[in-house]
């Protein structure tokens, strides 16, 4: 072999190689980079590859299984919860009817702590809420001493009532979300407003304690009673022509915000005070019916209707719905 060789790449005469030089060079060229340098470079190369954002399809592929599992779990839990709630709701309703019947028989004088029926539509509820001024602690403190004392008495009575209901095994009356701090000084207009506003917010009677504060869904909300609409009209009229009259316009200090939790309001017919004279016949009827079973109430309401006393019958029906929200109504009264 000659010392000069072509490299065979067709590079021309300039690409010649000297085999003797090649051999000598190979013999003396044994240096390698240090191992730590190798490790550093290879690690950096791997880091660079790992830090590189992967393609979207690769990322989706990686998440496909976990997302599928999560979706299945969520769906299963949702369906199971829905099924259980629907079944429980039916049972609960029938239980509540039985319970009312028993209560009416055994403890006729027990105060009806039925919640506000969910009668008010959303629009009426919104109007009622908008009319309720927010009461700050300062406003509450500024109440008259008599008001404060009566509020305290009302709270104490409410607590006693709750305690006795708990002892007797009856369902606990639920806290009234929109209850005023001093309900004794409310005007009927205010009471109607609050009944309309708060009735849709609470659903307590006949429900388990854990479900008492569940929000009322629109499906559960019944059509608005005429009483609520009338109350709104009265309120508007009173506001317009009262011109500062404290008795006509509700005192801000006496009204708690609708969102403020407080003791449950008593029935508007159980309250006394100025402006309640027009409800006197109904109040008398209520006193008469209070210890009676729901069936008696319905009979009385129907009788009033037959006699043409529609306003009283409506008031009584509204009160009935408030007290016995789960009691089935005859078709004529629906």
């Amino acid at each position: 072999m000659t010392p000069i060789e072509r490299n065979g790449s067709g590079a021309g005469p300039g690409a010649e190689r000297d085999s003797r030089l090649d051999r000598a060079y190979r013999a003396g060229a044994g240096e390698e980079p240090p191992a730590h340098l190798d490790a550093a470079i290879l690690a950096a190369a791997r880091r660079e590859v790992g830090a590189r954002p992967r393609a979207i399809s690769a990322r989706l592929r990686a998440w496909r299984v976990p997302v599928s599992i999560a979706a299945v779990v969520v769906l299963s839990v949702s369906v199971a919860t829905l099924v259980r709630e629907e079944g429980g709701g039916k049972l609960e309703q029938s239980d509540a009817v039985d319970l009312y019947s028993k209560r009416a028989d055994t403890a006729p004088s027990a105060p009806a702590t039925a919640p506000e029926p969910a009668h008010a539509p959303d629009a009426a509820k919104a109007v009622a809420r908008a009319k309720l001024p927010a009461v700050t602690p300062t406003a509450r403190e500024s109440m008259a001493p008599g008001d404060t004392a009566s509020a305290k008495r009302a709270e104490a009575a409410s607590r006693r009532e709750a305690a006795s209901a708990a002892r007797s095994g009856a369902p606990m009356p639920q806290p009234f979300q929109g209850a005023p701090a001093a309900p004794e000084r409310r005007s009927p207009v205010l009471a109607a407003d609050q009944a309309a506003g708060a009735g849709a917010e609470t659903r307590s009677f006949g429900t388990r304690a854990g479900e008492a504060n569940a929000p009322v869904t629109p499906a559960e909300t019944a059509p608005a009673p005429k009483a609520a609409a009338r109350a709104m009209q009265r309120d508007r009229a009173a506001t317009e022509d009262a011109s500062g009259s404290v008795s006509a316009v509700r005192p801000p200090a006496a009204v708690a915000p609708a969102e403020k939790p407080g003791p449950r309001a008593e029935s508007r017919f159980q309250q006394s005070g100025p402006g309640l004279a027009d409800t006197a016949p109904v109040t008398a009827l209520l006193k008469e019916l209070e210890p009676q079973a729901p069936e008696k109430w319905l009979e009385k309401i129907e009788a009033l209707r037959r006699e043409g006393r529609k306003a009283e019958s409506d008031e009584l029906l509204a009160e009935f719905k408030r007290r016995f929200p789960t009691h089935p109504l005859p078709p004529a009264l629906r």
């Binding site: 690409a15 190689r17 000598a24 390698e32 190798d38 550093a40 590189r52």
Partner: protein, 188 residues
């Protein structure tokens, strides 16, 4: 994934570009010695050579996303090494940069072509290697680079020209001149 010896450098680099770190390992294993020796012979200091060596590979790693096969991988790799070396020369001394200037073809005429001279078999391989290394160190940078690229990178004249950014004729003359000098030195 394991890579066979038949897998080309370009395929390995493309695989690394697409996220296969194992391809880089194979590529590094093939070329680390050549690049290191190329830098070591050029700058003559191990510490500097190591720094430059690391920079070259890190540049390769960083530029992998834009890698496309436009030439042999070795050409691409040694081009990175050459550029890093020039930067180093510029930073530390102008002398080397000056020596990279063109060598006139007339210089070639002064060097006798002794390629037909028989090899001196009296020197053993080790002594020949040591002597050759001394001669290589005495070469001007441009000529030395051409010779090292041929030896370490296995490059042809065209590839040397591409890697160093000169014309084919320039690369050819540098290489020939280097070899003539080395042969002369080995004969002495």
């Amino acid at each position: 994934m394991s890579w066979s010896a038949e897998t080309s450098d370009e395929e390995l680099m493309l695989s690394y570009r697409d996220g296969d770190a194992g391809a880089f390992d194979a590529l590094y294993g093939r070329h680390k010695g050549g690049v290191y020796r190329y830098l070591l012979r050029q700058c003559r200091e191990a510490a500097v050579a190591e720094e430059l060596f690391q920079d070259v590979w890190m540049n390769l790693v960083r530029s992998r996303a834009g890698y496309t096969v436009q030439a042999k991988f070795t050409t691409y790799l040694y081009r990175l090494a050459h550029n890093r070396l020039i930067d180093h020369y510029r930073k530390h001394s102008h002398a080397a940069v000056v020596s990279f200037e063109e060598v006139g073809e007339e210089a070639m005429a002064e060097v006798p072509d002794d390629r037909e001279r028989p090899a001196d078999d009296a020197l053993d391989a080790k002594r020949q290697a040591a002597r050759l290394m001394e001669l290589i160190a005495l070469l001007p940078e441009a000529q030395r680079e051409a010779f090292l690229l041929q030896q370490e990178g296995g490059m042809s004249v065209e590839e040397i020209a591409q890697a160093t950014g000169v014309t084919r004729e320039t690369a050819k003359s540098r290489l020939r001149y280097a070899m003539v000098k080395l042969r002369q030195g080995m004969q002495e």
